[in-house]
Symmetry: C2
Subunit: 344 residues, 2 copies
């Protein structure tokens, strides 16, 4: 077969505010790939089916800073960005994967990829016959973030009040449902009335649009809160600090309100001391080894049975990935953002 | 005996910035007390010998806010403020205390006090014959704060790097010495060269004056840090966030840089997420029941043997208590601030 187009989304420019499609990232069709002839070097050739668009990608669009010993790697300018996805094996030189197998792992944003290291990928059996996109959402990194963070740090007790931000998103919605499965009172915020309606439909006791209703007032009336799942930082974090019960646990998963803006000045930081709060940064890749087996044993069934519901915001084709990245940073997506890169 | 003067320090006005002696608090000599005749209602009459001046007192000089369910009580306007002290019993109607006994607990800022509830006071044996002021410093609430916070949250591991702010103060200096007893590398900051010299003398590996040396630069060179003992908040906290190792523990004990100023805007809050940090508010009164016996068994001996050193900034007479409160807020004290209220 003749070489065919291998579309890619390249990192082109470090953004200062919101990432812009066509500037921060550019979609490139200049590369071709010979699916029959490309050498695999002992690895696999994969056709990428779905790839995930997540808020944290913004954090990797920085200038590299070799003097900083502790930050995660940045994307390389001129190279494809990368994230979690599901691909189907076309050819394999590794006994652990055969053509037709579906593998979950980190892929470059391109139509096809040769991956030398099969051990970094997870073979998905998908006995529940769920859409592959579910494996980058509720059964992927976002679901794992909710599951592992909650298990490790939430320490829920009977009667606890939970506050969840970005509660219609794949992490927030999962947390809302975990908290409700444990019988807790859940306060949840989201950024559109449509999102709020979804959050109510999955069981939140109090759901509100933070753009039209004061988070402080809701928490003052419905709190104090014992558990805060923070996806947004800024003003919501400040309101949570001001309305936290003694000994409350804050699961710091993200601060999307701060990624593209000048930093918000927190007025209530002293609540950490006054109310003996506990704040924990949730990094799924650190927690996952402890919970991976349990997660893949429990969660696909929970999703299949509808115990964990989710909504999905899918775009078709890598050429839309830059737009999807921008939408997620601005909260314009409605549900888990995914790119359907190729049909099976 | 005729009634005598009972000097008191009254809370007079809620401060907006630094508390001012004569305005925020006023020293009052209008009250008298008949030491022989005053009725005890089953309690004790105590002559107060020493009383502690601590940074946290600023937090109780607020307007009362009954709608806030979680904050600590405020001082009452027109009444004496109160804090930890040591007094000697003059008369007693309770079998648990006899004249000449020394009791530790919370006292009003006055020369003499009748305390109905002896059970809230701790009988000090002081077998080491230490100065009574030590029992409001290294062997009092500040030492207990350091001891209990460290034991509960520091989780020290071999090779860890510790950063301590306000390191010449009674809490900070105790933490420096606990960390050195465990063989850890200690970076410590203080606000005058004289304080820095003391911090070096008690073993800090790196000690610097944060007013003349950049905290960020020191931490960047000497870190990353695994444990941060925060007494000051603001810029120091921001530098610690930027230079924290993955999984670092932040013991949030106080934020004195913020008590009398407009809030500082933290630039590095996302480090909590990126580096999976753990921040814990340290409230000694919540932790003390778990560690009290151990503390009073271990620490007086450690102080007597010089394993825990401290410096003391003593003023004589309650009329100076308002000045001492102001000095502590501004970092003008050198060592543990105490008022010697009366000679024995």
């Amino acid at each position: 077969m003749a070489p065919i187009k291998n579309g890619r989304l390249l990192f082109n420019d470090v953004p200062t505010g919101y990432p812009e499609p066509g500037k921060t990232t550019v979609y490139d069709e200049s590369q071709t790939i010979d699916l029959d002839g490309v050498s695999l070097n002992g690895g696999v050739l994969v056709k990428i089916l779905v790839i995930s668009i997540d808020p944290y990608l913004r954090g990797k669009m920085r200038k590299p800073d070799p003097s900083n010993k502790s930050y995660s790697a940045t994307f390389a300018l001129g190279e494809p960005i990368a994230n979690f996805g599901v691909g189907v094996v076309l050819r394999s030189e590794n006994a652990k994967a055969k053509p037709g197998d579906h593998l979950y792992g980190t892929y470059p944003f391109q139509d096809y990829a040769v991956l030398p290291n099969v051990d970094q990928l997870l073979l998905l059996k998908n006995e529940e016959k769920l859409p592959w996109a579910a494996y980058v959402g509720a059964i992927g990194m976002p679901g794992q973030t909710a599951w592992t963070g909650w298990k490790e740090y939430a320490a829920p007790e009977k009667g606890d009040v939970v506050f969840v931000t970005a509660a219609s998103g794949p992490v927030g919605a999962f947390v809302v449902q975990l908290a409700k499965l444990q019988g807790l009172k859940v306060i949840a915020s989201a950024g559109t009335d449509e999102k709020v309606a979804f959050v109510k439909s999955i069981g939140a006791d109090v759901a509100f649009n933070y753009k039209t209703t004061s988070t402080s007032e809701v928490l003052h009336r419905e709190g104090p809160i014992n558990i805060y799942w923070d996806n947004v930082g800024g003003e919501s974090l400040d309101a949570a600090l001001a309305n936290a019960a003694n000994g409350a646990r804050f699961l710091e998963c993200g601060m999307i309100s701060q990624y593209n803006a000048t930093p918000y000045t927190l007025m209530n930081l002293m609540a950490i001391v006054r109310n003996a709060l506990h704040l924990h940064g949730v990094l799924v890749m650190q927690l996952l080894p402890k919970y991976r087996d349990e997660f893949y044993r429990e969660v696909p069934g929970m999703v299949a049975r509808g115990e964990i519901k989710y909504i999905e915001d899918a775009k078709r084709g890598l050429e839309w990935a830059g737009h999807a990245i921008s939408d997620v940073q601005q909260g314009k997506n409605h549900g888990k953002s995914v790119i359907i890169v190729n049909e099976e």
